[in-house]
Structures are given as structure tokens and as C-alpha cells.
Symmetry: C2
Subunit: 130 residues, 2 copies
DNA sequence: GTAATTGCAAACGGTTTGCGATCTC
DNA sequence: GAGATCGCAAACCGTTTGCAATTAC
């Protein structure tokens, strides 16, 4: 289960910065911001705390997949499916582009140019090999 | 415009590997595969060629955003909008989860657990500052 | 008191880049 | 030939980690 965690002033400051920002900052941005309050905090501490907070469900990390890039031989537009078991990435033969873009353009103030949609779950092969 | 490019045997081999793979491999995986054909090819060459091929639209790179992670103070489920101008990431107040998951579950062999959807375009602030 | 946490700096891992040699056009 | 590309190795950069000192509980 989850290890016991303490609320240090560093952790509190990081959480505060994050809660008061509606955009989604990078670790470095958070570091600079927190430094105004705790000048000698280290970047390592920021990273460690972000990870702890994420483990505890207090915040969320927004990186898609790992830090490896993946390359696609088919440059046309299509959605991807990432298998949670084997880690493979597959193409989906479904297209909702115009629907989705239109919806956001109509319902929000943002001007949408494109979107990326990625599903995750279990691929057919891995469902078999149970 | 685009610089002139040449079709070296390295580039051809990389492209071939990529075209013959329906999953979307990492650079390292491609490297290992190509090495069987050109044993002394270097990983740097693989990266360089992947970038050239991507610039020419022959392949596509599947990393979402940059290599920086971004952190979200609101751990609930929601979609994001990435502004192409200021680089900011914002929340969207729209939810289609069950619709989308159901659609893929019905129309494909994959078992979907979740998905991630990210729009990009221009945010309201940047539309003003034209 | 004691285990979690910190600051620091070194290590890590994927990717990029500078170089002189090589190959494509 | 000229310039794009190669192989090699070092550099880069975001992130993680080992360690001794500190701090929350």
C-alpha cells in the first residue's frame, strides 16, 4: 500500500502553486515559482514531490506514454490504441475528426485545428493469451 | 523550403522496416531491426533519418507534446487543449468518455479501458493578441 | 526517536550534434 | 565534384537517485 507521507513546507508550496494554476506547467516552471517562496529548494525535490503527489492521486501527470518517441510509417490521420499488456501501439480504423473538432469549436472559446486521440486497454492478441 | 534529400541505403532500410510494421516502434527497436541488414549502422543515423523522413511527411512521430512532462493540479478526468501559439495547456469542460469507449468496444476487437484526447489550436487569449 | 524528506551533485537514458570520412546525385 | 549523409563519440537535457544532514510526526 501507499507509504506514509509527510506534509513538508516544500510539498505544500508545490501543491499550492499547482492548484493555483489553470494551465498545466512543467516541473521547471513549478520550480521557478516555488523558488520565490523557498529560495534554496532543489529541482530534485520538486520532481520527487510531484511524483509523490501523483502517486497519492493529488495531482496528475500529463505525459502520453513513455519518454520514448514512437514512429509511424503511415502518415495519414488515424487514431491509436495502446495495449496495456504488451505495450504495443496499433492503428484504429475509426474517424471522428470532424465531429470532435466541430463540437469543441461550437461549445468553447477555443479554435481547434486538430486533435489526438489515443485509446488504451488490451489488444486482441493479449486477450487470447490469458 | 525542404532541403534536398538523398535516398541512401540506410534511409531506405529504415523506411522499409517502418512500412512493414503495423505496430509503432521506438527508434531503438528500428535500430535493432535495421542492424540485421546493415550491421554497422549507428543509432545516430537512425534518429537523423527518422527526423528527415518525418519532415518530408513520409512518416509520423507519435510523441504527444514535448519531452517535458506537465502536471495537473486537478486529478479528475478531463480533456486538454494545447495552444499552438503560447504552448499553454488548458482544461476543457466536455466529456465524451463513455461514448468514445463504447464506440471502439463495439466496432473493433480491442478492449478499451480508457482514452486520452487532446485538442490543439489557438486559445482565446492568443486569438485576441493578433 | 525514527523514518520520511531535503539539498546537492552525480548518474541515467533517450536524443541530438560536431567531426572528418564517405557516398549520392 | 559538391554537398548530403555516414559512423563515432561526446554533448545535451529532462528526470532520477545515492548520500549525509535535517525535519515532521
Amino acid at each position: 500500500m501507499a507509504k506514509k507521507t509527510r506534509m513538508t513546507k516544500q510539498r505544500k508550496a508545490i501543491l499550492k502553486v499547482l492548484k493555483n494554476t489553470k494551465s498545466h506547467p512543467t516541473a521547471d516552471w513549478i520550480y521557478e515559482k516555488v523558488r520565490k517562496e523557498i529560495p534554496n529548494i532543489s529541482l530534485g525535490t520538486v520532481y520527487r514531490n510531484l511524483n509523490v503527489l501523483a502517486e497519492n492521486g493529488k495531482i496528475k501527470v500529463l505525459d502520453y506514454g513513455s519518454n520514448h518517441s514512437r514512429y509511424d510509417g503511415v502518415p495519414d490521420h488515424h487514431y491509436h490504441f495502446r495495449c496495456e499488456k504488451c505495450g504495443g501501439v496499433f492503428d484504429l480504423d475509426v474517424d471522428l475528426s470532424s465531429d470532435l473538432n466541430k463540437k469543441i469549436n461550437n461549445e468553447t472559446e477555443f479554435t481547434v485545428h486538430s486533435h489526438r486521440l489515443e485509446f488504451s486497454g488490451i489488444c486482441p492478441d493479449c486477450q487470447q493469451k490469458n
